[in-house]
């Protein structure tokens, strides 16, 4: 577990450094993800110890949203003032996105 965690942090660090150096407008961890993905492709397999730790971390993904979610405290004023556009945008956009994605995928399968 410690080994896998070290691997994740090393890839994240490389990603952050590459973003800083190149000025790419992409979050560092995303570059780290791509590098790890490429490494797995080159190796031809994901080792079990890495898979287990990643599954463990991702199965608690929703916990990691909580501190950011509590940040809603900082935005009460904005949400109070703009609740209508935000609520309509979220509900309509989510329904339309599900529909469009599904219809395009089905159309292209034929």
């Amino acid at each position: 577990m410690l080994g896998a965690f070290t691997v994740l942090l090393v890839f994240q660090l490389i990603g952050e450094v590459l973003v800083l150096v190149s000025g790419l407008p992409v979050p560092g961890p995303v570059v780290g993800m791509l590098l790890l993905f490429t490494t797995l492709l080159a190796r031809g397999a994901a080792p079990a110890w890495l898979r287990e730790t990643c599954q463990g971390l991702l199965s608690h993904l929703s916990l990691l949203f909580v501190p950011a979610g509590v940040g809603v405290l900082l935005h009460f004023q904005r949400l109070g003032a703009e609740w209508l556009p935000i609520a309509v945008a979220l509900v309509a956009s989510t329904v339309i996105t599900i529909g469009v994605t599904a219809l395009v995928m089905r159309a292209l399968q034929r």
Binding site: F65, H75, R78, P85, T97, G99, V100, V104
Partner: protein
């Protein structure tokens, strides 16, 4: 007695231990409720923990930065968790290569639809620029969406809230929407939920079937990548 209590309170509220502990305890409690509610999407554990913690901070008059001193240790894990997405993405490579055209087409259509409809509707109804920029990446998984919002000039913490809300909405509304469109293939249903509602939608899809979950997870990873690379470019083209 009250003197001792306030001394303990002063001591604890100055250390990160309290913020970290209440975050974990609130989540455990919320997850217990979620399981008791038979994983009903309305009993979303993130929504419940956030509500409990907001109420707690409100009543104890604790500023968010003080809470975050402790909660940052949980928040920090979003980075490694994003890197960890490489593993399920790699595991689903077979599914991806077999369906490259339908999946690629659906991904691009869905990802653009999510951003354009959210920003368009928000703009038409008069939302501010910061809110619109925070809305744009809301269908991507939280660590990516928050990173992208920061790069775009939105408010990462607001995006975090919008992402969680989108996930809950997607998990609740997917079944009705897809039934209305008469789409019954689990691969298509899973992929659509994953594009629109990231990790919360994916967790939901896994409860229905393994296939639906796998395609939702694949969609979440791919949409995260596309959002991270495409959105900052689109904003540049748009002249923002």
């Amino acid at each position: 007695m009250t003197g001792t209590f306030s001394e303990i309170w002063v001591y604890l509220s100055a250390s990160p231990l309290l913020g970290l502990t209440v975050t974990l305890v609130a989540y455990q409690g919320a997850y217990w409720i979620y399981r008791k509610a038979k994983m009903n999407p309305l009993a979303n554990p993130v929504a419940i923990s956030v509500a409990v913690l907001v109420a707690l901070l409100w009543f104890t008059d604790t500023p968010y930065p003080v809470y975050f001193e402790g909660a940052q240790f949980v928040h920090f894990l979003l980075g490694p968790a994003t890197v960890a997405l490489a593993v399920p993405l790699y595991a689903n490579l077979g599914n991806l290569m077999k369906n490259l055209l339908p999946l690629g087409g659906a991904l691009i259509a869905g990802s653009l639809t999510a951003a354009v409809t959210a920003v368009g509707i928000g703009w038409a109804l008069g939302a501010s620029r910061e809110t619109l920029l925070s809305l744009a990446p809301k269908s991507a998984t939280a660590p990516i969406a928050m990173g992208v919002a920061e790069k775009l000039g939105g408010l990462p913490s607001l995006t975090g809230v919008l992402v969680v809300t989108t996930g809950i909405l997607g998990a609740v509304l997917a079944r009705g929407t897809l039934n209305l469109l008469r789409i019954h293939d689990h691969a298509v249903r899973g992929f659509a939920v994953g594009v629109a509602a990231h990790g919360i939608g994916t967790a939901r899809a896994f409860q229905v079937s393994e296939t639906m979950g796998a395609f939702a997870g694949l969609a979440m990873g791919l949409n995260g990548l596309l959002t991270a690379f495409l959105f900052p470019l689109l904003l540049k083209l748009w002249g923002g």
